[in-house]
């Protein structure tokens, strides 16, 4: 009966941390850095803070519903999911486990995010990144487009094995 011996907070955390991203299902919301806080505030009442990856991320509603479903299943009758806009999400919050899961799924994980303080410099040349092909690990890759299948990804292609792949772009 190990389950019964966990505190409510541990149960809530475990349930919330098991929820995966609807568009990157190999990542949990914890791996993605979207899950910011889980708190048990009363008898079977839990409050969860999440932060959007992009302003228009259409997955937010699905994430909210999934969190409520999992936490209900873990015995919490009341689940409040709050949006946390500040500080803004950055790809630097993707955990090492999350980066490994992305690479294993054929998606190139992001490098360090650029500083977004002060004036943002104009970049007329393609963003310089050291991106390795997630299929063959060749460093010979080229950018196809800074915009990909979801708001958070760029399109690349490997010039060694010729496979196209997604890269999670740094923000």
């Amino acid at each position: 009966m190990r389950l019964m011996s966990r505190t409510p907070l541990q149960r809530a955390r475990r349930a919330a941390e098991s929820v995966t991203d609807p568009e990157l299902p190999m990542l949990t919301l914890l791996d993605l850095g979207v899950l910011r806080d889980v708190d048990v505030v009363g008898d079977s009442h839990v409050v969860v803070d999440i932060t959007p990856t992009y302003s228009g991320c259409p997955a937010m509603a699905a994430m909210r519903d999934d969190l409520v479903r999992e936490l209900r299943g873990a015995g919490f009758d009341r689940v409040d999911v709050r949006v946390c806009l500040d500080p803004a999400w950055t790809t630097d919050w993707i955990t090492p486990e999350g980066r490994a899961a992305l690479a294993a799924a054929g998606i190139s994980p992001p490098g360090p995010a650029p500083s977004s303080d002060g004036p943002i410099p104009l970049t007329l040349l393609p963003t310089a990144r050291q991106v390795r092909c997630p299929q063959c690990e060749s460093p010979a890759t080229e950018l196809v487009s800074e915009f990909g299948s979801t708001a958070c990804k760029a399109q690349y292609r490997c010039t060694s094995c010729l496979e196209p792949f997604d890269h999670v772009k740094e923000i």
Partner: protein, 318 residues
Amino acid sequence: MDDHVHTTPEDEHDSAYSGLLVNDAHWAFGAAPVPDGHGEDPLAGVDTTIPDGVDAATLATYALMLGDDALVMSHRLSEWTSNAPDLEDDIALSNISLDLLGQARLLLARAAKADASVVPVLPEGSPVPPEDALAFFREAQDFRNVRLAELVNGDFAEATVRVLLFSTWRLAIFERLRASRDHVLAAVAAKGVKELAYHRDYSARWFVTLAQGTDESRRRLLAALDLLWPLWPELFDTHAFEAAAAAAGVGVDPTSVREAAEGVLEQVLAAADVPRPEAPRRVGVLGRTGRDGMHGEPLGRMLAEMQSVARAHPLGQW
């Protein structure tokens, strides 16, 4: 479900549908509704307290201006979906549109939270959230977007120039708006800066590529620049509400970012070897421009299409 997709164990490996049939709790549509969730409020749990000494109507109107710019520009860009010259740029323009739609949603929700009187009144029992009421139930003269955003789409060069002018200006505004005393505006700006930087770089690169490409691509680019240039000065006019929002420490006076925005644009023009146009600004009507609700005819037609479904079903659940 079995009636629609049937797979035998032998062909499951080859079936494009097999992956869709597992773990379908992830699919947002068709999932059981969440009875005590916060619904769809994009600002659920965000501190929307109006900062001390700030007039609610000023804050709401200022948020509407920035929100309407994003909404109208987003809709025009969404019209490119399936119409761009190639798949990559179709996806890029759709992504930019989506980012701006997200900014619009947060800003319109912020306006409604600051001053509920700006939100159109809907029939009792309507489930339409305030930001949707603002987007779908206002007339053209109630929209406060700059006129650059609302023009009917032209060719790809026109989209390139429009996104460049719009994102250069908006990024300069948002860089300063990060210091807003209003927590919501500051947070929207901090996130928006990262998005707009991608929009500006994308359009600036295409600007240089088209200018330095073929005679035809350069001709089209210069024609687009001449077409849109008369609307560039309007972006830096200071409306009374913008002046008041800036004085209260929640907004940015557009005139104050003119030098920064012009500096970025000069870099792009120089890299593209394109001279700065000389066309005079397009004047307003009796001095009134987009910020005053004075728009060209195309905005009304755009809104008629954008709003028709929501208006036909004011009690609809989506």
